[in-house]
């Protein structure tokens, strides 16, 4: 039986040794050598360290933005379910069949802004396309896709011998048994993992992204940035929920454009302003109720333009 004081000491050594700047390993060795029970307690603390990793999946920020009418919108979104029904009705469901005798057949799946589409592959893999998206599938093997534009959520049936690969933003992503979301736009790309893991750029950086990881990379930049996201919210756009943590406004505008079908652009000066919060798209939004709501939630002035909306910085009071 390990005593309480040994457990206390082990917890302290664990706290010290997990610090990246810890260097007094000889003192730790001395302590461990003093009694075999010390190592057992140290291992228990190490297991606790592992266990605590689960905290990374908890959203550190509230999910709904604190805005005057946020709760009302949210409620409406859930009751009305506006886009959910519309999306389901609009979803084109079809099976991908490789044409016989064709070596490398490409199948193009494309959606208009505001349109959702669900693709079923023969192996059971599902790909949900958001609006304004173009995805090219290699029909000869059924395990390679190229996201040319827009956003797609992949629910991959894992096959060790035939990993599913997605090319986006000039980089390859390989699944390790997973559900993940990929965004590709002229400004850059994003990969968010809901379950399992993917390998980003397997032949280069080989960044392994587990559930709840979000990787961003700006176009023409070699720098990738990895942060946390709520895995339960990855791909939530499919039910009309757009959830962000520190996402640049341009990204929010891109998503809104894809999801609602109306073209939304951001003034360059505020394009990189970070936004944290949730936007629930309702049926009313598709019929013109969006502008006032967006103004409040994103703290911008919304100007109507012939072909969409323009988000500008609010004039100082």
């Amino acid at each position: 039986m390990i005593g309480a004081s040994v457990r206390d000491q082990a917890a302290l050594w664990m706290a010290r040794a997990r610090d990246p700047r810890f260097s007094d390993w000889d003192a730790l060795t001395d302590w461990l050598e003093a009694d075999p029970a010390h190592n057992l307690a140290y291992e228990a603390a190490f297991a606790g360290h592992d266990l605590a990793d689960i905290l990374s999946t908890a959203p550190a920020m509230p999910e709904v933005v604190v805005a005057p009418t946020a709760s009302r919108w949210r409620k409406r979104g859930f009751i009305g379910g506006g886009l959910i029904g519309t999306a389901a009705a609009a979803a084109a469901v079809f099976a991908l069949v490789a044409p016989l005798g064709v070596q490398s057949a490409e199948m193009v799946a494309e959606t208009a802004p505001g349109q959702h589409r669900l693709i079923h592959l023969q192996d059971g893999t599902e790909i949900a396309l958001n609006g304004d998206t173009r995805l090219v599938l290699d029909a000869s093997n059924g395990r390679t896709a190229r996201l040319e534009r827009g956003e797609a959520m992949f629910n991959v049936v894992h096959d060790e011998t035939r990993p599913f690969t997605v090319d986006a933003n000039g980089t390859r992503i390989v699944d390790i048994g997973t559900r993940f979301d990929v965004v590709q736009s002229t400004r850059g790309g994003e990969v968010a993992v809901a379950e399992g893991a993917v390998l980003y750029d397997p032949n280069g950086a080989a960044v392994r992204l587990g559930a709840g990881r979000l990787l961003r990379r700006a176009a023409n930049s070699p720098i990738v940035e990895v942060s946390q996201t709520d895995p339960a919210k990855v791909g939530a756009w499919r039910s009309g929920h757009l959830v962000y943590r520190d996402a640049p406004l341009w990204r929010v505008a891109d998503d809104l454009s894809r999801t609602t079908g109306s073209r939304i652009r951001v003034e360059p000066g505020i394009a990189n302003r970070p936004f944290t919060g949730a936007i629930v798209i309702t049926a009313a939004d598709r019929h013109g109720a969006l502008p006032q709501r967006l103004g409040a939630v994103l703290d911008v002035t919304v100007a109507r333009q012939p072909n969409g909306l323009y988000l500008k910085a609010r004039a100082p009071h």
Binding site: A4, A11, D19, S23, A44, A45, G48, G177, G196
Partner: protein, 211 residues
Amino acid sequence: MGGPNIPALNIVALPTPGYDGRGDGRTGRDMVTSGLSAVLIANRAPLLRFLRARGAGDDAEDIMQELWLKVDRLEAEGPIADPRAYLFRMADNLMHDRVRASLRRGHREQAWSETGYDPAGQDETPSAERTLAARQRLRQVERALATLGERSQAIFRRFRIDGVAQSKIAQEEGISLSAVEKHLQRAYRVVAALADEEQEGDTPPSRSQTP
């Protein structure tokens, strides 16, 4: 990065193969090797001592070899601020991995895979139960940590999840480094007890802790 730096040794020529007196036949490639390998050789004895203290027993030499191979594969990674500490950390993790692996092999394996608990995160099989179990575990951990004060919780999150160094946290919080350690010690005590309970499985958890 500050810290107690050992001057970066990029390329060093080692005296002769068999320098460590083991004559393990790994010659030929040994003439030129990276700084990290050199630090490994220089710290062979204290590392072995550490491995034994960490429960390596008769396997210490084998694990040392494993460490050597790992270091060998790391060559291209660029400079490391404190190579000696880096090697001890590798050794520490290696021993921890072995414990986890043997636990997985043992009879507890089933209980773990049933609840989806995999501290190594190596089981990638997605499933609804796994997600559910993860949520439950998250609640357990949060509840356990909630027995501590707000400050201990916040400091633990900052350290464990945000990966902020303790010296930085001390600055942020305006407290001493040892005060930060104290907060973290309490948090580690709590999560260690919880991990213990998980591993006990069906047997009643020992509740001897809680100071």
